[in-house]
Symmetry: C2
Subunit: 226 residues, 2 copies
Amino acid sequence: MNQPKASRRKGPGRPEGQSRIREDILDAAEILFAELGYAGTSLRHVASEVDVTTALITYYFGSKEKLFREVFQRKGQQIANERMEALERLQKEQAVPSTSDLVRAFLAPPLNLRATRQGRAFLRLHSRLHMEPEELSFELRRQTYDESTRAFARAFHQALPHLSESVVMRRMSLIIGSYLYAFSDTNRMDELAPGAQSTYNIFYDLEEIVLFAASGMQAPAPAEES
Amino acid sequence: MNQPKASRRKGPGRPEGQSRIREDILDAAEILFAELGYAGTSLRHVASEVDVTTALITYYFGSKEKLFREVFQRKGQQIANERMEALERLQKEQAVPSTSDLVRAFLAPPLNLRATRQGRAFLRLHSRLHMEPEELSFELRRQTYDESTRAFARAFHQALPHLSESVVMRRMSLIIGSYLYAFSDTNRMDELAPGAQSTYNIFYDLEEIVLFAASGMQAPAPAEES
DNA sequence: CAATTAATTATACGATAATATAATTAATTG
DNA sequence: CAATTAATTATATTATCGTATAATTAATTG
């Protein structure tokens, strides 16, 4: 799995040149957290994957929890930013974008991450661990996504004025659930032998999910509004 | 959290009367797995919750993994059975039940579990850990749910003959994702102070999810069918 | 009622976890 | 170029994990 890294000097002391070990640690942690969960991933495992000592991880990140935070925020923030940009672009073209366009703009950023191995790992991490370190992951999601999610809720409400913003918000949550689940399955494919097919390994493309999600969002308004 | 159990004799040896400790262990494990994840839950923690030694857990279940299996299957099988019964009941009334009726029959069994604390714990466990012990949970889900899921897929296909059975299956996965996600949020409410409200704590009722999910299922057929 | 089986605790083992500290070497700064 | 800072390893500490074994007591069986 690991080709022996271009030989670094071993032993203590600062190595020559500049190191990109910090990023390597984030990458390795992303993959291991995705595969083994938060509690299931040991710093030793991460360290050995990058071929450094655990003390170096503590040096860079302070603790396991802080390492997780940084892994999560790195790509999470990217998704949030891309969503905001896509929304602004849409709203420049047409004051009130269609429901389908909004759903597409919301889903494309995470879906595009599937292009790389690291991206797939993040998606799996995200869907698997959406609440794993209990308090932590919850707070992380809010910090990272709240602003863009609310912006989309307002836009959906404009496109579907007969639905309250709160109904829209709740349906967005259902959409998030469906795509996270779809991705967590899909992204197991990395580990399977190529060609191996399992019932539970489904590859969804963007339009397929957009079709489903936009229809759900456009369902009739609920009977009684509390 | 634990009122001191009606005093049992301490010390080694078989206790008098008959014990319901096996069920107690399953209940405690269900709650802890749901709250802390598989890797995050220690047998010691489970044991102390039930006020027995870890050796007794090994005695009954053999290993941590087997304990998890049994926790999962206990209510999972119940859901699968109730789904099959509901489907058969529907099909007795009308040869081809409506999409909404099918969705409702599919979702009601897990949703009803929310009535009890143990049920809520299971739902959270299910949604959080839907693949936590990697190979394990995957296989468990298949064993437990495959039959009933396929039966529903056939029924959906009959109600929506312009959709292939495979499209129906894929949309069912999206529906499963959305309700699991909705439940994992909802069920955190156990831990929050009563009255405390978080953006991410949404309570969905059955009809609200049925409305969304049935609309998604009834979306137009996808353009190209591979 | 004697022998066996079931249910339980006590205790220990070896592995591994997260984290902290001190030593070491290279790069940067003044 | 001397002093300081940055990046790294070596090593230790303390805790906890899953599991195994033997002892103990009550229930069941023959």
